[in-house]
Structures are given as structure tokens and as C-alpha cells.
Amino acid sequence: MSSIHVTTTLNGDPAEFLCEAEETLLDVLRDRLGHTGAKEGCGTGDCGACSVVVDGRLVCACLMLGAEAAGRSIETVEGMAEGDKLHPLQRKFLDHAALQCGICTPGLLVAAKSLLEREPDPDEEQVRYWLAGNLCRCTGYDKIIRAVLDAAAEMREAS
């Protein structure tokens, strides 16, 4: 069992790590790169708590091997804010109280950002279906959906 050396980009920064072949991207992010924003809720792609963006695509970090990250560009919740300026989605999640415990929040934020980059003016149904892979057990989703729609409206106005 020899470790694999991987060079990648994490939230715009060059990053490299050693990992075993079995390790998932989520394992690597959390245990090797100290980025614990992505959470493991299931480890099987059913809950979305580990949502990250790889080369522009929204994925579950638990369903990708760390070794596959070579040469890719990875974006996580830790990269959403610009300095001390929160992303509009982050602000709207707070304004709308769209989180209770907060464990699903990083994944939802990353997933919602990915939606708004493709569809700046989604309707409620589009938001609900896009986020269907992100389980939240606390909120009943109501305030989350409102926060995403409100952030989308604000981002459209700003652009």
C-alpha cells in the first residue's frame, strides 16, 4: 500500500496531499487538508452534506476518490466568502434563519451556489428539485427555499 501524491487546486489555492487509493475526496478534504466544512452525513451520496464543486460540477465528495482530484479545481464552502464579505447566499441563509443545527448548511450553500450560476432566476420548483439531494432534517426546507430565491433576486439586481 503506497500513498498517492496528488496536486490539485482548492478554493483557488494550490494544494497537494498524499492519500491512499481508498480515500475519498471527502476524507482527504477533512483529514488531510483540514477543510472540515464538507460534512459526512451518509458516505453514500444520499444526503449531500459533503457537496463540493469539482471543475465546475456539483458533486458529493464522498463519491469521488481523493486520487481523482489530480489537476482538478475544487471549491468548498470555505471558499464561498470573499475575505470578510459573505456570499449573498450565506447572508440570506442568516437573514431567513435557513439553518437550525447547521450541519447540512455547507452542502446546501455549495449546491445552491451551483444552481444560481446556471440558472439565475429559478422558480421554487427548480430550487426544490436541484436541492433534492441535500437532506435537511431541521427546517422542513421552507426557509432554505426562501433564502435561495431571495439571494437569486438580489444577485440578479446586482448584476
Binding site: M1, I4, E20, A21, E22, T24, G43, T44, G45, D46, G48, S51, V54, R57, L58, V59, C60, C62, L63, M64, L65, A67, E68, A70, A111, S114, L115, Y129, W130, L131, A132, G133, N134
Partner: protein, 287 residues
């Protein structure tokens, strides 16, 4: 475990051929990584095929479409010409899992995983899709229906992989559709699924039809009686009843955590009826 990411198909085949242990192909990984995680599978080698350029493209071929084994569901959904040609196949693929899964899951992977409930397979069977199987002796083309041989089993040799899936050139006044039933609105495995392809004449009479059902038997099944029930009809209620009955009759499901056998038998027919109506509407719209 040994991770390999070859950049040519030839290298991939050489790696498979030279591997003496349990070797698995990693395309989207949305099934394989779940099995690794649950320790259902502990391969010695994993061959990641996503760095092989020729497997990562959707190419037009004689009016049909060749979809590389590494092409994800979202790439298919974004390909307007493919969606126009085979809306049922693309929607079947896109029903699998979440947005996140769609970024990774591949149709060839869905096929090779050989789950009786694989969503894309009934649609591909109805579309008469053909898999290009590559091994040490070169390539061979195999109808998709002949790839799965039972739950988790395929007809591929241990040193073969699927390089691409070919969807034939669409016909005029013909279209496909796929529907499945799940308990929730998303994220579930099909309790039953049905893919329908049909062609109409200028008067709207069905001239040919293929109907395949999934999750109601050990493998996806092409139901010839169901297709025959539509031919010659304008999808009148009687024809749809006969279609539904044929699909229910062809279903040999089991009771499990996702549904009862009786329920699956019934719903297979309901889905066939609904999918046929959608396909006919699409076929009419193509003129």
C-alpha cells in the same frame, strides 16, 4: 487497492488484461464508491477511465449518437441535439439520483452495475441501443439488452469494458419516453420503470413500438406483447389497456423494502400507459 488512471483505451485494456486480482472500472463511481464504503467490494485495482479522451465525448455517427462511457448524465442533459433525438433515454439517465449524482454518474456505469432497477436501461432497450465492448481482442457491438444477465452480473468478460453506447439515428414521427415510480419525488431507486419507443404514421397510427420494463424482474425486459398492443392503434383506451396488461403480465418482481410484488406488477402497467402517451405526443410533435 491500486488506483490507475490511464489516458488511452489501449492502456486501460492492457491494465485489465494484466490484472490478476479483482479489477474494477471507475467511471462516475456513484455505485462503486458506495460498495467500497460498505465493504461489499474490496477491489485490488480500480481503473479510472475518465482521463481517456475518447470515452469522454458525445459524438454524432451516421445520424445517431455515440456516448462515451465516461460521459456524465448532466453532459447528456446539456446536449441539445441528443435530448431532441432521444428524450426518453436522457430523461431516464437524468432521473438517477441527485444533481450531485448527475455530475458523475454515467449511462455505461448504470448498465454495467447491472441493477434490475437501473433507470437508463429500459429506455436504452426500448431505443435499441448498442454497447461497444472493448477487450484484448478488439471491439464488439452488443445490444444493451444482452449486457446484464442478472442482478449485479453482466455478459462482459473480466478483461472487457464498455467504451461507449450507441443510440441509433432517430426516425421521423417517432420518439421515446421513460417513467419510473418512486415513493418520494427524488433520490429513490425505481420501484418499477418503463421505457417506450414508438413510431407513428402521418395519420397518428402507431406503426412500430418497443416497450421495456425495469425493476420487475432480475433483468430489464423487452415486452414484445406490449409493443404489439400499440401497433395499429392510435393509443385508444383499449390499446393502452392491452399495453398495461402486457407489461403487468411480463413482470416477475419480488417483495422487498421498496415495494410489494403485487404493487410492482400493477404499477408497471400504469407507467407503460403513461409513458406511451408521452412518447406518442413527442412523436406527433416531431413532424
Amino acid at each position: 487497492m491500486n488506483y490507475q488512471a490511464p489516458t488511452t483505451l489501449k492502456d486501460a485494456v492492457t491494465l485489465m488484461q494484466g490484472d490478476t486480482g479483482n479489477c474494477r472500472i471507475l467511471a462516475g463511481g456513484t455505485d462503486l464508491l458506495v460498495r467500497l464504503r460498505s465493504e461489499m467490494e474490496e477491489p485490488d485495482t480500480v481503473i479510472d477511465i475518465k482521463r481517456i479522451a475518447e470515452l469522454d465525448e458525445i459524438a454524432e455517427e451516421g445520424g445517431g449518437w455515440r456516448i462515451g462511457a465516461a460521459v456524465s448524465g448532466v453532459r447528456m442533459a446539456e446536449h441539445a441535439a441528443l435530448v431532441a433525438a432521444w428524450p426518453g433515454v436522457v430523461e431516464a439517465m437524468n432521473l438517477i439520483g441527485s444533481t450531485q449524482i448527475q455530475s458523475r454518474a454515467t449511462m455505461a456505469g448504470n448498465l454495467c452495475n447491472a441493477s434490475p432497477a437501473a433507470d437508463s436501461v429500459p429506455a436504452m432497450v426500448a431505443a435499441e441501443a448498442v454497447a461497444r465492448v472493448v477487450g484484448p481482442d478488439g471491439a464488439r457491438d452488443v445490444p444493451v439488452a444482452e449486457i446484464p444477465t442478472g442482478p449485479g452480473r453482466t455478459s462482459l468478460a473480466r478483461d472487457e469494458l464498455i467504451a461507449s453506447i450507441f443510440l441509433p439515428a432517430p426516425q421521423t414521427r417517432a420518439a421515446d419516453a421513460y417513467l419510473r415510480f418512486i415513493p418520494r419525488t427524488e433520490m429513490d431507486i425505481a420501484v418499477a420503470g418503463c421505457g417506450v419507443w414508438l413510431a407513428l404514421d402521418a395519420a397518428g397510427t402507431c406503426t412500430a413500438a418497443r416497450v421495456a420494463v425495469g425493476a420487475v424482474g432480475p433483468t430489464v425486459r423487452l415486452v414484445e406483447d406490449a409493443g404489439a398492443a400499440l401497433v395499429g392503434s392510435k393509443l385508444e383506451p383499449d390499446a393502452l389497456d392491452a399495453l398495461a396488461e402486457a407489461c403487468s403480465a411480463a413482470a416477475t418482481p419480488i417483495d422487498d423494502k421498496r415495494g410489494t410484488a403485487a404493487y410492482r406488477v400493477h404499477v408497471a402497467g400504469v407507467l407503460a400507459r403513461r409513458a406511451a402517451v408521452i412518447a406518442a405526443k413527442r412523436a406527433g410533435d416531431t413532424t
